[in-house]
């Protein structure tokens, strides 16, 4: 497929509507990012999304766009709640993969002497790796249904968290409409012992320090100040979510046939939102998303426990949740497009909601300042906290990037790192890495990722997010 591309300005590129596209594509990229994009088929995927029925506004790609499957990673699209479709390919396998950030009052200098012990304890408390599971928690079927229905709230009620955690989670830690009965027995089985686990690949739990503050007022409102320690957790719905996606891809392939929806890529299979198949997927997806909220909630609780053990209960007392964002999700939101208020099912696949100051869905504590946008980088350099903008709400359905995006394939990275003692190299840089798998670390080295700073430059230039703070890792738990 020949993709036409028209440059709008330094960071915006239009893919004009042609052929079966219902709308234009809009890609946020500078020259460097665009040069990488031309090497794969991510732009074609932006155009493919524009071919799905009921899309409103443009098919969007955030500055960390890269080649995915179905939707590009970094893809955002809104579908009319009445006439549009919902697609598991627009959400991804890891439903509600997302990020939580805990702030603290602990100074870096107080953590440095105990960082080895801290990371060893975190590594034990947060099971990581392929198929990782907890040996201290095996949910009953009833308990699993409660997590699927109520998300993080169920865990807080059990004492696994604080009341103020909930208001600092997107959707307050629970997406409405979840129906645990729509999950297959296989999906449910996979969820019984994986709550509170990191998983593998690019998922992690990091002890970080606030390295630089760019916007003191907003950082203060988020509870972040330079030199203070934070904990960032990146994980999702684990095997349960993957299974839900697998199960419903089959349903959606049949549905696309049934409703006569032409598919430019089978991974974009979908069903009308108002169809039985669409309703079922949304109910199952919400349940998996709630599981992911519960997963990060339990890990946050365990992390606080580790800090209390190693540094004392007073140190852990200030570990408040800054925010918890989804970056693989489809949710109903109200937006204005071409002056028309619409209720849309917004798909964000590797993209973060980034609502501006004044948005009605934000909790009281962030209503005037805007939503914290958590953007993890690679394990050697830095992550960012940004804040949503009014311009972003208008142009990107209130969305921003979700990470740096890979530069190198996993295999290429493994080969390039062969023979190097990466754990020792990180230690020399002041970063303690704990992982059972040297191969995972080899796949996840900073060299394998784009520089998040460059992606953030585009975010800021495009006005789809503002830098608030930069955090650098002190210790990393990798799967």
């Amino acid at each position: 497929m020949e993709i036409q591309l028209r440059r709008i300005d330094a960071v915006r590129w239009l893919i004009p509507r042609t052929g079966d596209m219902y709308t234009d594509g809009l890609v946020f990229a500078d020259d460097a990012i665009m040069s990488h994009l031309r090497e794969d088929r991510a732009l074609e995927q932006v155009a493919n999304v524009a071919c799905l029925p009921g899309i409103r506004g443009r098919s969007l790609a955030m500055p960390d766009i890269h080649w995915g499957y179905g939707f590009p990673i970094g893809g955002v699209a809104g579908f009319d709640a009445e006439e549009g479709v919902v697609s598991p390919g627009g959400v991804g396998y890891d439903i509600n993969c997302g990020v939580r950030l805990l702030r603290s009052d602990i100074a870096e200098a107080d953590v440095r002497p105990v960082i080895e012990a801290l990371m060893a304890s975190l590594f034990r408390a947060l099971p990581s790796g392929v198929g990782s599971h907890r040996t201290d928690l095996n949910l009953t079927q009833n308990e699993l249904s409660a997590v699927l229905t109520r998300g993080a709230g169920w865990l807080v009620e059990r004492g696994w968290g604080r009341e103020d955690d909930l208001e600092a989670i997107e959707e307050y830690g629970c997406i409405a409409g979840a129906d645990p009965n729509l999950l297959s027995p296989r999906a449910r089985k996979r969820g019984l012992n994986q709550l509170g686990t990191v998983g593998s690949g690019n998922h992690f739990a990091e002890v970080q320090v606030v390295d630089e503050v760019f916007d003191a007022k907003t950082a203060s409102a988020f509870g972040l100040s330079e030199g203070r320690v934070a904990v960032m957790i990146h994980s999702g719905s684990r095997g349960l979510g993957y299974q839900v996606c697998d199960d419903y891809l089959e349903t959606m392939l049949d549905a696309a046939d049934k409703y006569g929806i032409p598919l430019p890529d089978r991974q974009l299979c979908c069903a009308p939102i108002r169809s039985e198949e669409g309703r079922q997927y949304l109910g199952a997806m919400a349940a998996a998303a709630n599981y992911a909220f519960g997963n990060r909630q339990l890990m946050a609780h365990k992390a606080r426990g580790v800090f209390a053990d190693v540094l004392g209960p007073e140190s852990a007392a200030g570990m408040r949740t800054v925010y918890d964002v989804c970056h693989n999700i489809a949710k109903f939101e109200h937006h204005v497009i071409d002056g028309q208020p619409l209720r849309l099912c917004v798909h964000r696949k590797g993209a973060t909601r980034a609502f501006p100051p004044g948005h009605e869905v934000l909790p009281e504590r962030y209503r005037e300042i805007g939503q914290p946008v958590l953007i993890p980088g690679d394990m050697g350099r830095y992550s960012f906290v940004a804040v949503g903008t009014a311009e972003g709400l208008e142009e990107t359905l209130g969305s921003s990037c979700h990470g740096a995006g890979r530069l190198m394939s996993r295999t290429k990275s493994r080969k390039a790192m062969k023979g190097r003692d990466l754990f020792a190299e990180f230690r020399q840089r002041g970063i303690i890495v704990r992982s059972d798998r040297a191969s995972t670390v080899a796949e996840e080295v900073p060299e394998a990722y784009k520089d998040l700073e460059n992606v953030m430059d585009v975010v800021v230039a495009a006005d789809i997010g503002r830098r608030v703070a930069r955090l650098r890792p002190l210790g990393v738990v990798k799967g």
């Binding site: 890269h66 080649w67 995915g68 392929v130 296989r186 690949g201 996606c245 394939s409």
Partner: protein, 137 residues
């Protein structure tokens, strides 16, 4: 020559297959999958299992086959060490798979899903079969 080759994909992992028949393509796809999973068979006793699947077309059948193998692998903590596949009418599959428990190291990679993205199963004019599979990892 029949072969499985790794596919360059920046974010995920995939493989391309060339085979003399559709049956053989499905067998080689299993090796592509287990190569990506990265688990090694232990020297514990093996066992055979029969897998029977039916789907609307060959592409869906290939995805279903690989998903089934992945499910069994995780449920039994085992890797397939041999597979004999027979396809009927491009919609039904019957296979006998030899399994062996994986070593204590387990898999090196978590495969989230077998995707339909860029999926390909087709024969060329010379009757050679070509396949492409992308895995979400």
């Amino acid at each position: 020559m029949d072969a499985v080759r790794e596919l360059a994909h920046t974010a995920d992992v995939g493989f391309e297959i060339e085979a003399s028949s559709a049956d053989r393509l499905f067998e080689l796809a299993a090796w592509g999958l287990f190569d990506a999973l990265g688990a090694s068979p232990s020297d514990r006793p093996s066992w055979n299992e029969t897998i029977a699947l039916g789907r609307a077309d060959l592409e869906r059948l290939l995805v279903a086959w690989l998903r089934e193998l992945l499910d069994i692998a995780h449920a039994r903590e085992a890797v397939a060490t041999a597979a004999s596949v027979s396809l009927v009418a491009e919609t039904d599959l019957r296979a006998i798979v030899e399994w062996r428990p994986w070593t204590s190291d387990g898999p090196t990679r978590e495969i989230k899903g077998v995707t339909y993205h860029g999926l390909r199963v087709a024969a060329d004019a010379d009757g050679r079969w070509h396949g492409r599979v992308v895995l979400d990892v």
